[in-house]
Amino acid sequence: MKSSVITFPGSNCDRDMDVALKKFGFKNKMVWHADAELPKSDLVVLPGGFSYGDYLRCGSMASKSKIMQSVINFANSGGMVMGVCNGFQILVETGLVPGVLLRNKYLEFICKNVFVKINDKKNKYFKNVDNEVLEFHIAHNEGNYFCTQDQLKEIEDNNQIAINYCDENGKIEDQFNPNGSIKNIAGIFNKEKNVLGMMPHPERMIDTSLSGEDGSLFFKNLINNLK
């Protein structure tokens, strides 16, 4: 399986994503934001970080990078595109997934482990994951997902919510919402579910020595689903 990770100026989880993808069997290529063409890929990842310093609006300038037109075309033709953290922020700026990401409710950067409940498994990202709840890791300042009531209805009708913040037993309540996201949304799909944007970093959970191993589950499953 071939993957591509895009490096924007200010990306800082690009190496971590590269390490994770390779660990679970992807042949990964790093792609520079100013390139025009994507290499042949089964998966394109927009990594975390602070592309363009988060200036103007998180993800906004990166969404206009040269490479993004190819990424958008790739996604529109059904290609798998995953945006993590800043990558999610870039995705909402391109309009590939609905909604926006606001500043965290308590106005502070948060770095910690969280639990997320998988809302939908009829997609290549979460199909065949045995667990209902995964322990992931977040590290962000602007992860407060927001959309209009109309958009929310559409999202829910299409089952586009990917994961919600919850407790270890899968209970989705306000107290387990780290950033104020509407409906505890931690990740969301496009209608066709080939594009996934999420705040949590699965690439930081790929080793028992790190924060945990549920990221390993996610990547192992993902490569199998793509085969």
């Binding site: 100026p9 800082n12 190496r15 971590d16 970080g49 602070f50 502070e108 770095c111 020595s209 790190l210």
Partner: protein
């Protein structure tokens, strides 16, 4: 403007220093030259009050590749890997403008590290604030934490450990000390020594603006009521540019274009160019019209003294300009050839075709003032006798809860959750333990780092305090299973012109020197921050020690959380019952006098090295050093982290229960072992003549003391975790 003595004094120079400048130049300096002298000769850059004493610190060792004198120290961690590290203060600017002050402190220290060719892999910090009740404390704390996070998070470097404390002596002068570790191949280290004639001198990074002019001079003066007027001297940081600068520099460093490289930190273009020339015993000629400026009509004086951030000066090999420019263009950074190296041994500056400065380099460096300041030796205070009736009515659990909520002991989760501590995917011990630990990427090795200070002990007796803080750093590294290698120090003191403050400095440095020499834990880098004082009130002497150690196989790392019910808990090291200057004495008995706990270097070394042997033999399940709040506080923290309880039985000593549990004797650790290993452990400890006590057994959920009093771990955990969050949300 014609320079005279009054203008020199306004630049922070003393009258006799100005006379010396005129004598060295054999003429009156012009205003640009005066600015350059004032920047190079201030305390912050010249170390004029401290140099004499710093020379006495042990700086060499088998693992030391580079000691003090470069951008940062470098140590060998085998397999051609090396760690570059340093700590630096950003106290004065952080008080004036906490967010930018702290942010640029973090940015500056990272630049020091990647200037040497190393990719930063971990950040740490030591921050000190005034009393929690003081009206400024909360906002300063919030601003500093946001600033540290804002810069470090954007750079994508994990902040893995730190230290935060509160004391009214910092009411008017907070301390913000930032430390960075970087990883480099031993044969790819870059230095600041220029070499060769007619080599191009390159300016890269951000443009030069009017921010931070005279920042270093501001950091060399005390505060008064006009402090707010100094806001324009605080630099403004842009972590995004620094991230680009980091990547661009590392890309250029992968080749062989660079002869020397130096970041523009304090005193900007002035100190970076002079440092490179001085080390290379060369001259440098600069055309100031070539310097990329952010604002129009900047004068040579402003260009030379600006402390705009995210800039570097590089001496390149001839003919490599185009190659280098391509890299900086790719990263959208300014690149300009601004001058060349010369044989003149002078700094020669041109502006609009006129020579605007002409100064022999040695007058600025070797001939800079050095003072043997007067200092007063501190007496060891007399011991207090604790009266039985003062402690008779105390309930141990109540005291423990009070101590766990003390601002200097409580959990700092509110702070470190705002720092990205997991980016780079190698953080295997997060903040909140004895030391932060990161793996050396792609290997089995890991590097441990901690930062410590004990201002109370240093204030009570500087010599002992200086030794103690080095020992604490040593213990923190050993507690995670790392072999201590070397330290960096950030020496925060009041005015060197005050004999008592100067005495505190001299004796703390002596203590640091003695301990680091004995423990073979040399000082490889550091920084001095004097004039941490408002009017004539100085801070408590606060040397901060950043220690670095190596774990050969990261799977053998130790953490402090209790692991398993029924395991045995031992205390390594003898408890004599030293209560003076302990948290117990100061907060429970309100007794602020007396000597700090004695430091026995033999025991420190022996106890620590023996514990490392136990760890090597895989006999240790968890470990934690005993510090503030004594044995019971340390044990309670291990309980909270491991969500386990302990049944404590006080050994049959002559000292009473309170003294045993709350004393702050040095050289002690708490360890958890499997019952079946007791004999093996006891044998090793006995063979090495290490004293130990059996403290108790791990149980579920509660703390018992001598079978009677008890408290649940949840209750202790709430006490420990709630103070800071509540304080900040009020």
């Amino acid at each position: 403007m014609i320079v005279n003595e009054r203008i020199a004094v306004d630049h922070g120079l003393k009258k006799d220093e100005y006379a010396k400048i005129c004598e060295l130049l054999k003429r009156t300096p012009n205003i640009t030259e005066l600015g350059i002298f004032s920047a190079m000769w201030n305390e912050h850059c010249s170390y004029k009050s401290s140099r004499l004493h710093l020379k006495k610190l042990p700086t060499k060792g088998k693992k030391v590749i580079q000691g003090p004198g470069e951008n940062a120290g470098v140590i060998d961690i085998e397999d051609n890997d090396a760690i570059v590290f340093k700590i630096e203060s950003h106290n004065h600017p952080s008080f004036i403008e906490p967010y930018q002050g702290a942010a640029t402190g973090v940015g500056g220290i990272m630049r020091d590290v990647f200037t040497m060719g190393a990719r930063p892999i971990a950040n740490l910090n030591s921050i000190h604030f005034g009393s929690p009740q003081h009206k400024k404390t909360k906002n300063l704390l919030r601003g500093v934490v946001h600033g540290i996070g804002g810069y470090g998070n954007c750079m994508g470097v994990p902040t893995i450990a730190g230290q935060t404390s509160f004391d009214s002596s910092y009411n008017g002068n907070i301390l913000v000390n930032a430390m960075t570790l970087g990883l480099v191949k031993k044969d790819k280290i870059f230095y600041s020594k220029a070499a060769g004639l007619n080599k191009p001198v390159i300016y890269v990074g951000s443009k030069t603006g009017r921010d931070g002019i005279h920042g270093a001079s501001m950091a060399s003066a005390s505060f008064d009521e006009k402090i707010e007027e100094k806001k324009p001297t605080v630099q403004v940081g842009d972590p995004f540019t620094e991230k680009l600068l980091l990547e661009a520099c590392l890309e250029l460093m992968a080749g062989d274009s660079i002869i020397a490289i130096q970041d523009m930190g304090a005193a900007g273009l002035t100190s970076s160019s002079i440092e490179m020339a001085s080390k290379g015993n060369l001259g440098i000629e600069i055309n100031l019209n070539k310097v990329p400026c952010r604002e129009g009509k900047m004068t040579p004086y402003e260009i030379m003294l600006s402390e705009s951030q995210e800039r570097m000066l590089i001496v390149l090999e001839n003919g490599k300009e185009d190659h280098a420019k391509k890299i900086f263009d790719k990263w959208n950074l300014d690149f300009a050839v601004i001058g060349k190296t010369t044989k003149s041994k002078k700094i020669e500056l041109y502006f609009n075709d006129e020579k605007v400065a002409d100064i022999p380099v040695n007058t600025l460096v070797e001939n800079s003032p050095m003072y043997d300041r007067k200092w007063k030796k501190a007496k060891l205070p007399k011991k207090n006798k604790i009266k039985k009736e003062d402690i008779k009515h105390l309930k141990i659990i109540d005291v423990l809860k009070k101590i766990l909520t003390n601002p200097n002991v409580c959990s700092k989760e509110w702070i470190w959750q705002q720092y990205d501590h997991t980016v780079m995917g190698d953080t295997i011990q997060k903040p909140g333990g004895d030391a932060g630990v990161v793996r050396v990427h792609g290997t089995d090795k890991a590097v441990a780092a901690s930062v410590d200070s004990s201002a109370i002990y240093c204030w009570a007796h500087p010599l002992t305090g200086g030794k103690q803080v080095v020992c604490e750093s040593f213990r923190n590294l050993i507690s995670v299973g790392a072999k201590p290698i070397a330290i960096t120090n950030c020496l925060n003191f009041g005015s060197p012109e005050n004999e008592e403050n100067m005495g505190e400095f001299v004796e703390c440095v002596q203590g640091i020197g003695e301990a680091s020499d004995y423990l073979k834990f040399p000082v490889v880098s550091g920084n001095v921050s004097f004039y941490n004082q408002t009017k004539d009130q100085g801070i408590k002497p606060t040397p901060a020690i950043g220690g670095v150690g190596l774990i050969k196989d990261y799977k053998n790392m130790i953490t402090m959380d209790f692991k398993e019910v029924d395991n045995l808990v031992l205390v390594i090291g003898k408890t004599e019952g030293h209560i003076d200057q302990s948290l117990f004495a100061r907060t429970i008995l309100d007794e602020k006098n007396g000597p700090p706990p004695e430091v026995n270097l033999f025991n420190e070394k022996n106890n620590g090295e023996t514990l490392l042997k136990l760890i090597d033999n895989k006999l240790i399940k968890s470990a934690h050093d005993v510090s503030l709040g004594g044995i019971i506080t340390a044990a309670a923290k291990m309980c909270i982290k491991g969500k386990k309880g302990i049944n404590i039985k006080k050994p049959k000593y002559l000292i009473n229960e309170i003294e045993y549990l709350f004393a702050e004797d040095q050289g002690r650790y708490i360890i958890e072992i499997n019952k079946k290993d007791f004999k093996k452990v006891a044998d090793i400890l006995n063979k090495n003549a290490v004293h130990f006590d059996e403290l108790g057994t791990i149980i579920e959920n509660e703390v018992y003391i001598n079978d009677k009093t008890k408290v649940t771990i949840d209750e202790l955990s709430t006490s420990n975790k709630s103070w800071l969050t509540n304080y900040m949300s009020k």
